[in-house]
């Protein structure tokens, strides 16, 4: 995934999470991720777009052109039903993963 050093699948999961409360356009999704990850995870902002399109192709997102708060023509992305399912499944999986990794890395003795 160009411009990203996320763990595989993390960006997809963050996008799905960003859309949990309703439709957002690409820039707003990026801003949400930046805010919640202290701008650590995303090196290239543009890397978001291939991921968005990929998720759309997998029918986890649907897209629609609309007008932004700033009165610009932008494309809004919405979670589909399967996107919502995917978010739930992947969050649980990532939680497990993070917990075991943290525990393992915090181990003091062999």
């Amino acid at each position: 995934m160009a411009g990203s050093d996320l763990f595989t699948g993390s960006l997809d999961l963050l996008i799905l999470k960003a859309l949990q409360w309703g439709p957002l356009h690409g820039y707003a999704i990026g801003r949400w991720i930046r805010q919640w990850t202290d701008a650590v995870l995303i090196v290239q902002e543009g890397a978001l777009y291939p991921a968005l399109h990929r998720l759309e192709k997998r029918e986890l997102l649907s897209e629609e052109w609309g007008i932004s708060d700033t009165n610009r023509e932008v494309k809004f992305y919405t979670l589909t039903r399967s996107g919502r399912l995917q978010l739930r499944r992947e969050s649980a999986r990532f939680g497990d993963y993070a917990r075991v990794m943290t525990a393992a890395l915090a181990a003091a003795r062999p």
Partner: protein, 881 residues
Amino acid sequence: MKRTFRFEPRLQDVEEDVRREIEAHLAERSREFEAQGMAPEAARQAAIAAFGDRGAIEAEVRAVHRQTVTARRRTLRWDELRQDVLTAVRGLVRSPLYTAVALLALAVGIGANTATFSVLRSVVMRPLPYPDSGELVQVWTDHRARGRAEPEWLSPPQYFAIRDQVPAFSAIAGYQGWGPSLTGEGDPEALAGAAVNADFLTVLQVPPALGRGFSAADDDANAAPVVILTDGLWRRRFGGDPGVLGRTIQLSGQGWQVIGVMPASFRPPEPWQILRPIRRPVTSRCNHGCIVLRAIARLAPGATIEQASQQTAAAIARLIPESPEDNSRVGSWLVPLQDQLVGPVRPALLALAGAVAFVLLIACVNLASLTTVRAAARTREFGVRAALGAGRGRIVRQLLTETVVLALMGGGLGIAAGVVGTRVLAALIPTQILEVQAIGVDAVAVMTMVGVTLLAGLLFGLLPALQGAQPNLMGVLRTANPDDGRRAGMVRRGLVVAELALALVLLVGAGLLLRTLVNLQRTDLGFQPGQLIITNVAYPSARFPEIATVSSNLEQVLEQLRRHPAIAAAEVDDVPPLAPGGDQDVTALPDGRIPPPGVEPGGIWYRSVSPGTPRLLGMRLVAGREFGPEDRAGAGLSVIITEEAARRLWPGEDPIGRFFTSGPDPDSQRATVIGVVADVRHDGPREPLKMQAFFSVAQMPTRGTSLLILPSGDPAAAISAIREIIRDNDPQMPLGAISSFSERLQAVTALPRQFALIVGAFATSAVVLALIGVYGMMAYAVGQRRREIGVRLALGAAPAAMLRWIVAEGMWLTAVGVGLGVLVAAATTRVLSASLHGVDPLDRTTFVVLPLVLGLAALLACWIPARRARNIDPVEALRAE
């Protein structure tokens, strides 16, 4: 995942989409930077920098779309293909006649080809079953300079000279036929075998599976007698018991030790069951009658057959000073073993291959022609479909699919037919070759045919498909075009002409073969075998040392046979007509005169017969007398010769009372001619005449002869009588196979008969296919012109004139097709010449009658649909539009 129906965005749209999306992103981002207090220009630059490599990201998005688009297209195409196949099958089911004819054409064409090429590859192209079999050659001597057309065997001195003086051969082995009788192991049995030089199995490079091969020591005249069994004989007579090694078995009254058993895979060049060493290294000078050895040699690595041939000729030439009369003007005649064995059937098989290729061609042309006609008839359907939005490519594809589906179905049927046909064709191959080369359906032949089928389907589907798919939309929809395009019509006519021409070529070929068959059956053989049955008896010298006892025993057996009620007559002939092998000619010097230098003395074939044999065999005495009691042992040697011998020994003179000798020696026995019989075609109707001399068995006793028996009624009763009498006479005497003379005669004409039958069947199918083609085209033409005919009739044209008008076109096409066929046939029937007998490849009768017959049949095929033109009701024809 639920399938939703959605429109796929095009790739250009995706690009535009992404560009706009990114622009919006950059605008939002710079606004945010500005809000943080940056100048607009700087904010813009910062937004771009934060975004990353824009080009790479756009490309990545495009790639995301492209992948899914291709995947989607693939499934779409698969769906369309399935749809096309279904439509094709439905369309084929809707026109059963077309489908049936097309399938038949393909099945016949492909079936015949699969069978023929399977046999061709098994017999002619597959190497013989010996390692590096390409190096094996049959070694003959060439006596053509001495007036003998046939290749000749070797004399022992020639064999030794070649063995020692030809470096181009790495090994050579001579052999002779050997027919021992096996006794003491159940029923006595006459075996077919060979006496071979010790190197024989080394030359073939096939060692025994059990025991050992022959050593040089075994080949000595004083060595202990040893034999090697073939796997078949070992299993049949010795129960496959390995303990047979070292055992001594009784062969013709002498003990022979078994030293080896050949592997089951071993195929001897002739159908031998047992091998022994020659044990007769004949180093002594041998006279002219001593040409007794056949030989197979293996070329040394890198040596060519030409080098071997030159060296062999030189080796023979070196024998001239020692024995000029045997070796001067004798050359070498080397034949690759493969050619030697399969040579006789090769021309017939190649001609057959040509014939079946023609059948396939006709089948394809027929398919193409029918498909074009069908496509033309469906122009309107395609016009409508095109109007409804079907792309041109889609229509072409649908037509193509139809043809390919048809071709595949036909191909399947054809290959099934080929499997059956291979067995039928295998009957054409002499058993002697089948013993060496097994025949099976050949995978390569089948694969080739599958390829040809697909190609034919594509090629011949494409032609009409392209025609069918370029409908002049408006024209088609407005009304049925009276003539759907001159070019399409030309193609259809061309195809019909081609079909007729090809069919005629096959028909002429079949006609020539049929005349050959008739000629063969009409040939006067000079004997009439009738109901005669025949079997061999042998008196080995080990058990009958005195030849006089042989004669008296034979006479006794004949008397017993004649007395039996089931037997009407019994005679003997040591080399009866149509008997294979065992034949050898002897020099005949008329009046004992030495021929002038440069003239080869004629060779005459000796037969030793009982006095009643010529009459029993139905030979016709044309001069002199038959054998009588005066021609007894001890009296002067009497001989009955054939007309051919009389003509060549005493041209223009009366041979009765004249004599010939077998050598210039004054002591040579004189054979006085007492009678002349009409020519006897000893080897069958196709073979050249031989000079033959019949001696009385009383004056020329023989140890091996054939009994000729005429049953008085049921042949089965006669056969059991023969068995009984022979067994009672001598339980050790093996009884050879009992066969009927008419079977032998059948066997001689079997090959030409099968060949004529098969080519006849091909020609018939070709003609039927061609006639269907003519019929289809004329029916179509009449259908297309309904309207035109209707108008003409309405304007007062006579119905008969309509008929003539339609038929005239058919006649013209027929004339062109048949004429073309005559030309092609005249150019190609030469390939058959090896298979013809008594008929010229350009036989006039055949070349006149058959084109007429085909022409008339084609006219009939035109006339039937044309009649419909006469019956067209003008009102209806016009209203139908």
